[in-house]
Symmetry: C2
Subunit: 307 residues, 2 copies
């Protein structure tokens, strides 16, 4: 058995994964309340101990631990160089966990772990090459070619959210103009919904937002579409084009066997993928949503030993 | 020794490549006058015989033949499915040459061969991963990761000229809007120069074009820049941004050790690359022009056996 840790800016999920790549037990802890490296790593360690206790499995039965982390990673040395809003800076996280658990600890970035999970146990398990596109605050990418994770120089391959698709577009947080994630991330979609609701408040979409106390999230648009809202359908049609142009870009460069769409919005399934496939048109690359959903990162981290 | 054939829409170059990856002898023939598959393949066969005669080397000393072809390729079976304006349709070109020369014949696409040549004998020989970007009528790409050519599904990886960079831009020959090659190919640059000369005829650039009997080619802009032409410098500054945005896109996706700029315009060397590197700013990916120039395709084809 293996342990996989999916470390995120809000929470960390820790799972026990069996030889058939199933998550037997999992638990999670908040991470956004950890102010120091020590507080965060101790919380992760306790979470692993809790998982072991919960599962009733002996720690001896665990062969290795894998961690998927956001940010900039030194994979070879198991060091998190920086990790967005988490208090990790040049943190030798693999060694810290190895010292505690006396198991080999593997580290990779979160997008790569999600791709690796889908590749071995999810949507891509029948294929040789895959790109996982994770839609969230930004757009992340994990690339697998001929069964190998592609890390690139300084482990920075797969930053597909920063492909420029609109040279006259909006400035991205990265400083450049017109990055794909300024248009097609879930955050960009939410911003568009908010702007349209402000413009056209007396729509079904506006009602959905009002019912939700004014909060717009990744589901809002889809709820309104299910109620037949024309405004929502129009926003969604635009969104599919903006999402599609980047998916096509990834296809042109890498022509993988399969592209897997992940992130919370991917739970919409065919509602999202069918129009996307229609937009993209004829291509030999298959397009599907994540099969493992929230477990992709845990399973991928647990399976890092397979590299 | 190996023979490499660099097949193009206008001409084919055939070279004899030694064990140190040098082109010992080379010859070429026109291809745009071949109306049938038979006429073209016979011309290629005669060209190889001519090369052998020219070199004084025995055919016995040739270990294999490699072909780089434009268009759509079935690498596994050595078949050219289609090749732009060349009369090749489902042509088993490897078998045709094998039957004639009784040597193993390898086939790949032209962009991959150029990348493969630079990887083994040119700008990328010290590196593990490289992307060759060939600027011409369109923009081609050859991708090498960890020493392996990346072919993708249906051998269609590396079509980097069709990354959409301007979602509100011009329609590309491929049918989509705003592909990188509509802005940054040598053809796009030439069109821009023509338009500016029509707009501002009394410029140094206009004089250069007039001296060349109204013909604009890939060198025109650079000749005018050397004479201090402000119009030419302004066009070039725009071009560097349009070229740079696509190079950055390739870096974001693949983060290779090196990007090699090829095609006729790459002979401008530092005049092209220095401002490009300045535009791109800090990155761990090295950017250089082709070292092998016109020989990259021949050498890469000759070395296809190394895959």
């Amino acid at each position: 058995m293996r342990i996989g840790i999916d470390l995120g800016g809000t929470s960390a999920a820790v799972g026990l994964v069996d030889e058939n790549y199933n998550v037997l037990y999992k638990t999670s802890v908040s991470t956004n309340d950890c102010k120091t490296e020590k507080a965060l790593t101790e919380k992760l360690i306790n979470c692993v101990h809790d998982l072991i206790a919960l599962s009733g499995v002996s720690l001896d039965a665990v062969d290795s631990i894998g961690i998927g982390s956001p940010g900039s990673i030194d994979i070879e040395n198991g060091v998190v160089l920086s990790a967005g809003n988490l208090p990790l800076f040049n943190t030798p996280i693999a060694k810290i966990l190895e010292d505690e658990f006396h198991k080999k600890v593997y580290l990779d970035n979160d997008a790569n772990c999600a791709a690796w999970g889908e590749f071995h146990a999810g949507a891509a398990k029948e294929y040789n090459s895959a790109v996982m596109i994770t839609l969230g605050t930004g757009i992340g990418g994990g690339i697998i070619i001929e069964g190998k994770l592609i890390h690139g120089k300084d482990n920075r391959a797969g930053e597909i959210g920063h492909i420029v698709v609109d040279i006259h577009g909006k400035r991205c947080a990265c400083g450049r103009i017109g990055c794909w994630e300024t248009l097609a991330s879930t955050r960009a979609l939410i911003e568009r919904v908010k702007a349209e609701v402000a413009n056209v408040p007396y729509s079904v979409l506006g009602n959905v937002v009002a019912e939700n106390n004014g909060v717009v999230d990744g589901k809002t648009l889809f709820v309104a579409m299910k109620r037949g809202c024309k405004v929502a359908k129009s926003i969604f049609a635009d969104y599919i084009e903006l999402l599609g142009v980047g998916v096509l870009n990834v296809i042109e460069v890498l022509r993988p066997d399969i592209i897997i769409i992940g992130g919370g919005i991917s739970k919409e399934g065919d509602t999202l993928v069918k129009p996307l496939v229609d937009y993209i048109g004829e291509t030999s690359t298959i397009i599907q949503t994540s099969q493992l959903n929230d477990n992709a990162g845990i399973i991928g981290a647990a399976l890092l030993y397979l590299q």
